[in-house]
Every structure is written in C-alpha cells, then in structure tokens.
Symmetry: C2
Subunit: 434 residues, 2 copies
C-alpha cells in the first residue's frame, strides 16, 4: 500500500472538517485509494489555543513553511487562506516537490498562473476543488465530467452570504440593513461584510470557474464585479410579480469576440432550477456544446461540505501518486496551451434589463421612456404600472429584450435626465440562462 503523508496548514473550520472526514471514513478511503493516508503535521496560528477537533498523533507547529518543506509530508493541504504568507507557503511546497491541495480562491485568482506553471514544471499537482462552491464537485465536473464539451457558459450562485440575504429579503417586511444584521448574527456574514456583499469573494471563484471552463489564464482583469447592495426588497417584490427571483450570480460566457466575466445581481426566471436555490446553498449551471445545460447544487460552505471537496482532492492525489505521475493538467489543459481570449469590456455585455421608475404623470412619461429605449433599438418585453397612493404619480417596471450594454447605458442616461422622474432609476440585468 502506498503511504501518503499529509501536512495541514490551518486547522480552522475546513481543516477540522477535513480531519474529521479522514478519520471517520478512513477504511473507505483506504479502499478507494489503495493508499495509507496519514496526517504528519499541521501548522496552526496559536499553539496554545484549544483545538476544536481531535489532533491526536499530529505534530502541531506554528510555522507554515516548516510544513511545506517537512521531510515527512508528501502533500500540503493549504487551508490558511489569504494571499500573503499563503503564496510563500504554496511556492515553498511546490519547490520542495510536494503536491498541493488548496481551498484558497484568492490565492488562485491572484497568483494561480505563476503557481500552477511552477507546479507543472516541478511535476506536482495543485488541486483546488474546495475553492469554489464548497462541497459541490464543480471543478471535477468542468475538468473531467464535461471534458468532451466546449463550454459555452457558466452561471452560478457562488456566494452563500449573498444568496442567504437575497432569500431573506424576499420575505415580507425585510430589507437590506436588518437582513445583513441577521446574517452577521448567524455567522453567515462577516462583521466587515464587504468581501461577500460587494462580490469580491464571488469574483475569485468566477475567475477559477472561467479558467477551468474555457482554458484561459486565471484573472479578474476586466471582470465586472458588482455586489448586492443595490438590490432592494421592492425590486425583489417586483421581480416576483414578473415571474423572476433576484440572485447574485457569477457569469462567464464565451462569445465569438471574447469572454464576458461578471459578478452581478440579476433577475432569473423562476422556471429555472437556479432561481429556486435558496438560503446559503450554492449552485452552478454549465452549458456545453454537447451536453446542453447541466446544474450542480449543494452546500457552498461549512467545514464538512468543504472538507468533502478537500478529501476528494486528497483521493485524486493519492491515486496519482500510486500511478507515479501527474496525468491531468490543473486547469484541464497544459499551462502553455491556455488561450488568451480577450475579456470583453462591460459595454459589450449582451443581456436583458429590468428598470423600475418612480414617475409623475405615468401615461405621458411612458411614451418618452419607450422612445428613448427605441432610439437605441431596445424593445419593451413586459411592463407593469402601479399608481402611487398620491395622484398623478406611478411606479413603472419594464423588462427589455437582450441588447448590448452600451446601448442600454445610453438610453438609461437619457431616461435618467427626464424631468418626470421622482427618484433615480433602479435597474438590474435579467438573465434567461438559455
């Protein structure tokens, strides 16, 4: 039996979840891998702090580099996070000829190309199933399960905090601020929530998804990154009325001229499964040129679900170690075969739009608004009009056809300048996901 010795860096929620799985399912893992898997050492930040999981038999140290270069470690499991020390640690591990498993999406999005190129040169694996969508095996689905396809697009709910908040905001009487407070109380949002609600976390994950889906370098350059802070309970209610739910999506779409890469809040038809993925759950839709559209859903965070993904990578690495070679490139194709497809500027995005307008004298203004849209070749697909309690005022809600964002923005600027508006125009993108 091949012996595989792991070195952990970080024993927080995911580290402890992973250790628990390795212990609980040890017999099964031995059968599945044909390997004897042990954990030699783990680096933790504070050696004096009591551990939340059983670390018996594991040497604890406070120097991550020591784990990355330890004699009795074959595979480094990097769960410390961040893009500071983690970069040094992963580089040191690769240079020491060790395979690396990481859940660190920021590390991959920011430094992935250099690290994966180095790993390829050194003949070691870097596996990162846990970096996107927690326990959902979406990286494996894209790289392997759908390997026969050219991927056309990927669209996913890849941030549980945003999905929880948008789900809650659909309930009566809940708006952004109190829902954020509740999410923080439940531990779904950080005290400083910007990383989640401004779309940063999702942008890291989207960079990874796009890279594996399209065989392009890891990058957020040119990516449109919007959060959920512009979404109001009023828009969620209007979307519902129109047959849509509002979701925070990461979208990567291949077009003839390049790739659309965007993190945004958007209306999704309720008829799509993705619209029905609620609370902290994650899901990713993938459209391939052979398979059509498939969807993968599950828990996007948590120690055990994310640990499940880490252990799947451990199994893959063990099996590769038994065969004595790295057989599948980290991003699906070799680093030198990555395609430098251009990332399209947001002005070239093609999508549909939702507009909510608070206007005086609705009948007159509707003609002006439709004219501004029509001037840019934009047609109105659906319309709702609701008189306000106050006379000669109304809310107008419009859904447009699919147009180029530059055209929409020109029309929007003209509409925003109309004197009949009582407050700024609210607008969101509409994704039909087909």
């Amino acid at each position: 039996m091949t012996s595989v010795r792991l070195g952990f860096i970080g024993l927080g929620t995911v580290g402890c979840g992973t250790l628990t799985i390795l212990r609980d399912n040890a017999a099964l893992l031995a059968q599945r891998t044909g390997c004897h898997i042990t954990v030699s050492v783990a680096a933790v930040r504070d050696l004096s702090r009591p551990r939340t999981c059983d670390t018996q038999g594991i040497r604890l140290v406070d120097d991550p580099i020591a784990v990355a270069t330890a004699q009795d470690v074959d595979v480094v499991v990097e769960l410390m996070g961040g893009t500071g020390l983690a970069v040094e640690v992963v580089r040191a591990a690769i240079n020491a000829g060790k395979h690396v498993i990481t859940a660190n999406k920021a590390l991959l999005a920011e430094h992935g190309n250099a690290l994966l190129s180095l790993a390829e040169t050194k003949g070691v694996m870097v596996a990162f199933e846990a970096s996107v969508a927690g326990g959902i095996p979406i990286i494996k689905a894209l790289k392997e399960g759908l390997s026969g396809n050219q991927i056309n697009w990927v669209a996913g709910i890849i941030n549980g905090t945003c999905n929880y908040m948008l789900t809650e905001m659909a309930k009566p009487g809940k708006d952004f601020a109190p829902v954020l407070k509740e999410a923080q109380r439940l531990g779904y949002a950080e005290a400083e929530p910007s990383f989640d609600i401004d779309g940063i976390d999702a942008s890291h994950k989207l960079a990874i998804l796009a890279s594996v889906a399209f065989g392009v370098p890891l990058s957020r350059q040119g990516m449109l990154i919007e959060g959920i802070t512009m979404v109001t309970a009023a828009d969620i209610a209007w979307a519902d009325n129109l047959g849509y739910k509002i979701k925070s999506l990461g979208i990567a779409r291949r077009r003839a001229s390049g790739i659309e890469l965007r993190v945004q809040s958007a209306l999704v038809p309720k008829s799509k499964l993705l619209a029905n993925v609620d609370d902290v759950m994650n899901a990713v839709m993938v459209n391939g040129n052979a398979v059509g559209t498939t969807l993968y859903s599950g828990a996007g965070a948590g120690g055990m679900p994310t640990g499940s993904a880490v252990v799947a990578d451990i199994v893959d690495v063990c099996i590769a170690m038994r065969s004595g070679q790295v057989t599948r490139p980290a991003l699906g194709v070799p680093m030198n075969a990555l395609a430098a497809l251009p990332i399209l500027p947001s002005s070239q995005i093609q999508t549909a739009y939702y507009l909510r307008l608070d206007v005086t004298d609705a009948p007159g203004v509707l003609a002006k608004i439709s004219a501004e849209l029509a001037n840019e070749g934009i047609s109105i697909e659906e319309m709702r009009q609701q008189p306000d309690s106050e006379k000669s005022a109304a809310t107008l809600v419009l859904l447009t056809n699919v147009v180029e964002e530059s055209a929409f923005m020109r029309a929007l600027a003209k509409i925003a300048a109309l004197t009949d508006l009582r407050s700024p125009v609210a607008w969101l993108r509409v994704e039909h996901l087909s």
Copy 2:
C-alpha cells in the same frame, strides 16, 4: 503523443452523437488528453443503410466481435445495447485486453459483476458514465467528486419518459392514456412502452447508482420496481394541493440493517429542487455523510448529451492509457472489497404515505380510518376532505408520518375492507428527501 484507437459498436443516436463530438471538439480533446484519438472501425447492424453521421475514414463492419478483437482497436465503445450479443462482445473485448466504454445499463445491471471482475483481472478499464442519466456526470460525482463521503442515500429522476409523462399529466385535462400517446408520437416513449413506464429501465440505472454509491455488487435482486401506471391526474392534482409533485424516482438508501432499493412513483415536496425537474430532464440527489445533500441535473438522453458522457469516459481512458495503468476501480472500490449488504424486503421500507379514499358518509368513516392507522402506530400529518357532488359522499386525502411499510400495508388491508369505500384506495409513497 499517445495514440488511442477506438472501435465503435453501434452507430445509432448515441454512436453518432459521440462521433460528432469527437470530430467537433478534436483539438480540445487532444489538449485535454495529450492523446491522438482516432476511430478505426465501427460495427453496424446493416451496412447498406445510409448513416446519419459522417463516417469518413472509419472502417464499417457488421460483426461486433470483429471490432472487439480488432488489431487496430485499443478501446471498444459499446453502444449496441441489450444483454444478448453485447455480453459476448464486451467479454471478447476485455479478453482481448481492450478497455471498454459502455452506455449499456441492462448489461451492467445483469452481467456487470462478472464483466467488471474479468476486467479487473485483465487490467483493463470498463467505464460507464453514459449508462445513467445521460449527460449528467453522476457516476464521476459519486465515484470521485464525493469520494470522501460515505453515501447515505441517492434519489433520482432517471427515466425521462416517466418524467415527461408525469409533467404532462399535471396539465389540465390530461390523463395517462392520451399523454402516453403523445409521448409515443414525440419519440419519448416506445411503441411498447413497458420498459420505461413499468420502471425496468430505471431499475437498471438504480442498480448501477447503488453499486457505485455504496460499494455493493450490481444487482436488482430484491429491488422494489414500480412504474407510473398507478398514477392518475387526480392524484397529481391532490399532491399539488398539498404542496407536492409526483415524480418517478429511483431510491437507494443505506440503513443500519441493509439497503432500500426501489423504483417508484412518489410525492416530493415542491420546496425540493428535484420536484422542479420537469419534462424529459433527469436529476439525481446524493446525500453523503460529509457533504450533506447535493443535486445534479441535466439531459438524461439524446445523442449529444449521452455522447458527452461517452467522450468523458474516452478522455479518462486516454489519460489512464498515458499513465500506463488502471488506477481507479470501476465501482470505486476493488471487486473483492464490495460489501454484501442485504437488500431490505419492501416490508421493511421506511417512508411516508399518501392515501386517497372515495368514501360514503365521510365524518363517520374518517374515525374508522384513523383508528386503523393508529392501531399500527401511524399518524395523520395532513388531511383534505372534499364533498362529492353527490350527497353523503366525499374524497378523503391523507398524508401519514414515516412508518415501516409492513405496518402501512396491514392498516391498508383493514381500510380497504371497510364497507364505506366507494372505490379501491389509491396510495403512493411520500419522500421528504432529507
């Protein structure tokens, strides 16, 4: 570049879909595998029939065994179906030291153990992603993506014909017979539809799912196999009223005492994504002890989606050929490590039930019915009562708690004997999938 030469057996819908993908995505596949993939030969039933896809450069023969043993074939792609000649062909291929890729669920369910054992002895791969749920990479998800988990249960919509029919029957004025006719007209159901609507096709797929999920031998022995012929539009409407949809499910559940294996029509809460998988789409829910519940959905049939799964297997086989060894056992664990867990008799199934009763004098009879249920320890979780147009007659609809099927059957027999019934009791299982 490693050269990989394929031999096809069968060039029907899936065979042609697979060939089309191999041609359309050839450059991508070369990058992903590092292999030069060619198709040397294909066996077809009738050489004189015009082909529906481009077979240029492929030698066509009418003897499948000749393909299985051809000198210029490394991998046999068996898409002929059935359990007659296909068994001989696959055995011959394995004996000739060739890897086998098959979409043949009946072959695997009926002869899989012997064939996979032989393949293990001969050191060749047998890959079968296309045998269950078409293009959805569910075999890979179970075997690899969730390899860190002990799987607790799997529940899937794995027959598109049944799902299409149940979806249609939910529309006003549609019942079983006309919907079946429509399905036949659209090519979703065969002229002799029994294979699909009696659950046979799903039973083959469930045997494969259970085997990969639990590491048990491939078998349908003791499996409960029911179709959709007992489902009426009336039950679908009542289920809707109660917040459920009726779906035809394959369920495999690990319990302390053994495994439940059942193909059945059941009520599923609308709040579950699975309930919202409609038309010919397939989906499989998987619950693992680390990841919790995940779901995989997509097209369960069709030449291109199923071809996508076949090509994913081709990629895996190519990569294994490059490494020079078979590294992952066909069923996730070696054949000699398969666990002989008992299949529980249907009397030991644990689930909830839906009952629809057409009764005279409703108030009096409800007391008798509740008493018979209570005698077996069954409680009523929900109840609907609708007076018939005729006086002193009513429809009673009940949902029970989760009980053992033997208890339910005893109560059902007593209830069926009541003189107040105007027609036989309609009943279905209710699956909460949690």
